[in-house]
Symmetry: C2
Subunit: 341 residues, 2 copies
DNA sequence: CTGTTAGCGCCTTCAC
DNA sequence: GTGAAGGCGCTAACAG
C-alpha cells in the first residue's frame, strides 16, 4: 500500500479550490490576470492547507529559484563570518534567499572536492548563482553565475572580489617605518591561508624596499589566535635584540601580543608598538585602541552579491575583478622611535 | 531562439555514451546489474562532460536527497556557531550534506516569518529533514522530520534537544553561595534571548531558595558583549554596597567585567569573584582561567543530527526531549569569603 | 479570465 | 543487462 502523501501539492490546492492547477500557479506567481474572487479563494485554500510550493519542482520547471548559494570553507573564521554577514544583508534587500554551505574543518584536499561537489550540486539546480569564499579549487565546472571572494589571485577565470592583504600589509609597514622602526617583528597567521601568506609577503616586500635585511628570527608563525599571538610575542620579546614594533597578522594575535608585552612589565606603545589587522570590534577598545587595518570584509560580501545578481540578470559587469580597498586605522598602540644609529 | 542548455543532463550523458537514460541512472545510483564495461564507459563520459545530476530533479522523483537543512537565526551568536560546528562534523560522518539557512540580524518578528518560510521551502523538497536552532515560531507546518535545538521549553511539539541554562545558573549560584557569597551581582544577556532569561531566572530562584532578598540593583542588563560586560560591572562596582561576586550570563561579559574590576585596582578573585557561562576558548586563559559553565553546545548539534537521522530513517526515538547536561568548570576566578555578620 | 497540454531532469517499473 | 514509458510537482504556452 502506498502510504499517504506527506506533502500537499498544487494539485491538492486546485482540487480543494475547484480550479485548475494552472490557476493556482497563477495565484502563486502573482500573475495579473486572475479574478479577484478566484484569487482570494485560492489564497484561502493555500492558507488552510498550509501549502508551500516545492522548490525542487519549481526550479526544475522555471530555471529560476531566487535562491543564491554561498559556499564557505569554515564559518569559524572571522573572515568568512563577516562575508556571510554582508551577503546576508544584501541578499535580503535584493529579495533573494540564501543557502549557505559550509565545510566544517575539513582538510584542504577534501574541502576542494566538497567545494566542487557543492557548486555542481547547487548551481543551476537549486540556486540561481553561487558565491564561493576563498575557493580552494582552481576552477569550477558550472555554466551558471559564480563569483569568488578572495580567490588565489592568479587562478581566477571567474569574476571575483579580492581582499588587498598585500597592500594592507604594505601600508602598515610604511606607517611603522615612517615612525622610525627598523626592527619590526611579525606574527604570522595560519600558513595554509592565503591571507596570512599575503600579509607576510607584504611585510617582507616592505623590508626589502626599505633596504632592511630580513631577519627570520623576527618572524613567528602563529595561527591567528590570541593564544599563539601571546606565545609568538613571548618569543619575539626573548630575542637578544628585541623588536621595537610588532606587526601581527590579525587583531587577535595582536591582542595576545599586547598581553605578553604587558605581562613582562613593558608598555604599549611606550616601549613597543603593536599593529593588528582586521579591525575587529574588540580592536577599538583594547589598550586604548589598537592600530590596525580595516579591510571591509562584510562589504566584500555585499559587492559579491551585487556582482552575482547582475550576472544572474544578464547585466554587464563593470569589472571582472573588484579590489576591496584597505584602510589603516591609526589608534593608540604605536609610537615613533628615534633612529638607532 | 532558444538559447542552448547550460546544464548537461542525464540525456546528454546517455547520448554520448550510446546507452539509454536508464542505464546512466543505474550507474549513478550504483545499482548492481550493470555490466562492468558499460559502467566504466558511462563513468568516463560523466567525468568528461562534468555531469552532475540535478538535485532538484532527483529530489522530485525519489523523495530523498541526502541533504539536511539547518535553520539558524544568527551565525554571529556563539551559540549558533557552535551548534553549526557540531552539526557539520556529525553530518559529514553520516554521509549527509548540509544546507544552512541563516537570517542576518532580522527583527524577531520578521525572523519568525522567514523561519517558517524556510522550513516549508526546504523540507520535503530539497531536504530530508531540518534542524531549527532556537526557533522563534511556535510551530511548523511540515510533515517531514524536524528537530529543534533549544526551543522554548513549553511550546515543543516536535523532538528537541535543549540547553539546561536554568540548571547551569543554579549550579553557579550554588557554588558561589557555598563559598559564602551573599551579595552577588548579575550581568544579564540580551533580554530577547531565552538563554539569557533562563540564566537570570536561575539566579533569582537560587537567591530565593537561599532566602536572600532580591536586590534589583544587583542585576544589570547587558547584551552578551564584552563591552557591556565592562560597563555593567562598572555600575555594579559603583554601588554603595559592592557585590563580593559577579555572575555574568556569558563569558564575554565576564571578561569585560574582569577588565572593569582590574581597572579600578581590584583583583580577581582576591577582591571579587567572577563566574561566566559558555566556556568559550578564551575562558581557559583569561585571568589565569575563568570559572564558568560548559554546556557542550556543539554536542547539542551532534545530538540533533542523530535524532533527525533516526527520524528520517523511520527509527524510533528514545526521547522526544534531550536535555544536554551542563557542567560547572571551576578555575581561578572565585574565592571563598567569610560570612558577613 | 481559466482550463488543457506539454514537458523540465530524473528514477522506477516493466518489458525485452 | 538494457531500453521504453510513465510520472514526481510545477510552469508556460496555447486554446477556449
Amino acid at each position: 500500500m502506498k502510504r499517504p502523501k506527506l506533502t500537499v501539492t498544487i494539485q491538492d490546492v486546485a482540487h480543494a479550490a475547484s480550479v485548475s492547477v494552472s490557476t493556482v500557479s497563477r495565484v502563486l506567481n502573482d500573475k495579473d490576470d486572475v479574478a479577484l474572487e478566484t484569487y482570494e479563494k485560492v489564497q484561502r485554500v493555500i492558507e488552510d492547507l498550509g501549502y508551500a510550493s516545492s522548490l525542487a519542482a519549481r526550479s526544475m520547471r522555471s530555471r529560476k529559484t531566487n535562491v543564491i548559494g554561498l559556499v564557505v570553507p569554515d564559518l569559524e573564521q572571522a573572515f568568512c563570518l563577516n562575508v556571510v554577514k554582508g551577503v546576508n544583508q544584501t541578499i535580503e534587500q535584493l529579495g533573494y534567499d540564501l543557502l549557505v554551505y559550509s565545510g566544517g574543518n575539513s582538510t584542504k584536499r577534501s574541502w576542494a572536492a566538497r567545494e566542487h561537489r557543492y557548486v555542481s550540486l547547487l548551481n543551476g539546480s537549486i540556486t540561481d548563482g553561487i558565491i564561493v569564499v576563498t575557493p580552494t579549487a582552481e576552477t569550477f565546472s558550472t555554466h551558471y553565475p559564480l563569483v569568488a571572494v578572495d580567490p588565489h589571485l592568479d587562478s581566477t577565470d571567474f569574476p571575483a572580489v579580492i581582499a588587498t592583504n598585500h597592500v594592507g600589509a604594505l601600508s602598515v609597514m610604511e606607517y611603522l617605518l615612517g615612525l622610525g622602526h627598523r626592527r619590526i617583528g611579525f606574527i604570522g597567521g595560519r600558513p595554509d591561508l592565503q591571507s596570512a601568506l599575503r600579509r607576510l609577503q607584504g611585510y617582507k616586500d616592505s623590508l626589502c624596499q626599505a633596504n632592511i635585511p630580513f631577519d627570520p628570527n623576527l618572524v613567528q608563525v602563529g595561527d591567528f589566535t590570541r593564544e599563539t599571538g601571546y606565545r609568538c610575542a613571548q618569543n619575539l620579546l626573548a630575542l637578544p635584540a628585541r623588536p621595537t614594533a610588532i606587526f601581527a597578522a590579525n587583531d587577535r594575535s595582536a591582542i595576545g601580543a599586547i598581553e605578553a608585552i604587558t605581562e613582562i612589565g613593558l608598555k604599549v606603545p611606550e616601549d613597543i608598538s603593536v599593529v593588528g589587522f582586521d579591525n575587529i570590534e574588540e580592536a577599538s577598545f583594547v589598550n586604548g585602541g589598537l592600530t590596525t587595518v580595516d579591510q571591509f570584509i562584510s562589504d566584500m560580501g555585499r559587492v559579491a552579491v551585487e556582482m552575482l545578481v547582475k550576472l544572474i540578470q544578464n547585466q554587464p559587469l563593470e569589472n571582472q575583478l573588484f579590489r576591496m580597498p584597505t584602510k589603516l586605522i591609526v589608534r593608540n598602540t604605536c609610537r615613533a622611535v628615534a633612529p638607532e644609529n
